[in-house]
Symmetry: none
Subunit: 215 residues, 4 copies
Amino acid sequence: MARWNKSVLNPEQQRSLKREVLYQVAAAAFRRNGYHGTSLVDIAETLGVSKATLYYYVKNKQDLLFQCHMAAADQALATICTDPSLNGLEQLRRSLAAYIVSIIGEGSFSVVILEERSLSDEQLRVVIEKRDIFERRLQDVVRTGVTDGSILRCDPKFAVFSALGAANWVTKWHRPEGAWTIDEIAEASASLLCRGLAAGPVPGCPSNRLYGGQP
Amino acid sequence: MARWNKSVLNPEQQRSLKREVLYQVAAAAFRRNGYHGTSLVDIAETLGVSKATLYYYVKNKQDLLFQCHMAAADQALATICTDPSLNGLEQLRRSLAAYIVSIIGEGSFSVVILEERSLSDEQLRVVIEKRDIFERRLQDVVRTGVTDGSILRCDPKFAVFSALGAANWVTKWHRPEGAWTIDEIAEASASLLCRGLAAGPVPGCPSNRLYGGQP
Amino acid sequence: MARWNKSVLNPEQQRSLKREVLYQVAAAAFRRNGYHGTSLVDIAETLGVSKATLYYYVKNKQDLLFQCHMAAADQALATICTDPSLNGLEQLRRSLAAYIVSIIGEGSFSVVILEERSLSDEQLRVVIEKRDIFERRLQDVVRTGVTDGSILRCDPKFAVFSALGAANWVTKWHRPEGAWTIDEIAEASASLLCRGLAAGPVPGCPSNRLYGGQP
Amino acid sequence: MARWNKSVLNPEQQRSLKREVLYQVAAAAFRRNGYHGTSLVDIAETLGVSKATLYYYVKNKQDLLFQCHMAAADQALATICTDPSLNGLEQLRRSLAAYIVSIIGEGSFSVVILEERSLSDEQLRVVIEKRDIFERRLQDVVRTGVTDGSILRCDPKFAVFSALGAANWVTKWHRPEGAWTIDEIAEASASLLCRGLAAGPVPGCPSNRLYGGQP
DNA sequence: AATGAATGAGGGTTCATTCAT
DNA sequence: TATGAATGAACCCTCATTCAT
């Protein structure tokens, strides 16, 4: 399925297309076995090429991981919904659902579950920087919701951490053959998380006191 | 800090005490660098002993991981709150908070973040079996809450998956030097998650339609 | 001497040629120091390559031993003389002489002196099976001799065991720098052993009563 | 069976008795798995003691092997028959038979099959020196036979090498549970070998020309 | 006399990486 | 572009040996 043999495009595109497939295959392998648990042979075999060939498309194993991180960050950024016709809560919900789809769907570059210690300091800096942009945008969505009254008063940073955590974790237990479809999981998770952040007291819920409940 | 020299107990206890410390140190290393990314030298050095000494207490590196999993499962089981004087939602909240404390606090054996492919098939079976018990007990708490009306009607399995996911993820971003204390994180996370599951409609929350809101 | 650099053949042959040299060098090392007493570094150094390179040609150290056993069995099989113009005794003598040359001469794969416990059960089964063919063919030669009257009536199995034992033992004391040439040793040993099996009473020999000879 | 617990003697004898058992157990293990293939734990377990305890009775693993060699050489020396009422051939036959019994029977110290490279140079010197005495005495027996006309004219050194080779090899294929008893094997082997050395032409035997046949 | 605990040295094996073809 | 061959570094693990008890 992932062999990159037959696609016919101009050479420059060929190359970047192959690279993309490589990143996806690598990311999938990394997700399954961890960075150190994945050998380049694993990846090469999945692609139907030799181990040495990989070095035509990536500088390094470490660099390969880095590229996955970067691609994943871009992918994540694209899932944020800021449709002004919706309130913040709904924007958040849609963003989270789209994000979940993006990390467990086919073509995912996501490698968030991985030990970040595998990157060099410099690489880690760049990755975190890029991921911060994503997180800050999501925080903005939360702030929008707080302002328009759809989300309860809370620490946006913590809220986003929590939401993304639950979202990212899905990659651990999601099985393509499982009972739930990707969309179902995404919708259900996003809704669950948003309920936790929705404004207004929830009758009998102890967390009211923490988040301040009503404005 | 973790050197195991001075404790004076009878030899049998010494041994099992050392083993316990070993598991904790190993689990911490595994959490940080992944299973394959952790070398036995790392662990040995942290303990101030030689690499060969470890084999006095564990059969294998793989077995070491297995033992961490088992200890972690026990630790998790102990966090479940079933105090009958509390409603299900509150039981759940306390359980989650305690669970979070147990996995990021000192003395944690937690290795849930790890690539499960590192265990042998047989080991994995045993671990999953044991972990299932924990998850099923938590699901029971959710069911209790649904019955007593404190938790909205939902799929308990999915609810627990989500809650544990968000909880487990904390190990990824929690930094001991960070702004939040362990207890704060535990309380806030647990509350947030419980709000998402609390019965009763949340004004303006789109997830109401999913979980059915009030019965 | 044993470096495998310069030979110019097509790549497929190169590979199997190298493998052959590897087996010979390994067999020689095993013979000298035993299986467990031989390190892969020893072999690699003799070949002038790095230890890791060996794994390009063999799966395992154990597999290396196994391959030596197999090659040795083939080599042994090729030494059996069944020339119908000769009587059984002479066939046996020539076979034994050729066999001795094959195990102590250059290019020998022989590893019979080794602890067989070093092979896996399955490997041992295969090796023994193959070696049995060789031994049974030699036994056939003995039977031929008994039939044509050149060899005394005896248990062919035991006779072959004994003859091969004495032959194999030569690998223990033979020194290339020694006083005897390989051919001399082979001839002398074979003759000695054959005399022991030749038909007809040997005057004053106590073994007459054991093997009966013809009355 | 080999546990050394209950025997009641005076302490000095206890000690040397234990040592003797230790040598036998070690020799047996060495014979089976080779020197390097035998771990001290193997030996200790067979004796029912801890690994460290062995160091009360031997200086070294290497020294343990050395002691086996020495004991084996003594044992071998004791098998030589020089009964002047017998001719040389019969003396030789009895010697060989006794020797074979001594190396495969219970209580054997024999380690001749082993890689001699496992000894230190000095130890090897001593062992070879001692073994030379044995071989030279056997050669003397052969010479006696040649003189009294019972053994054909031959190189005594080579004759003894061959005979001992065949004898030693028995340790490789002898199985206690096998079809032949130890005595049968010893008798048959000795006879076979002696037939090969007996004076007088063997009808139709090609080796006549080698050994000069009748004087 | 005996042993549990600890260790240094060394061996087998894997793997990312390079290079000539 | 692609790959077979080769390697050094690192890792897991074993084992002979020592020492305090």
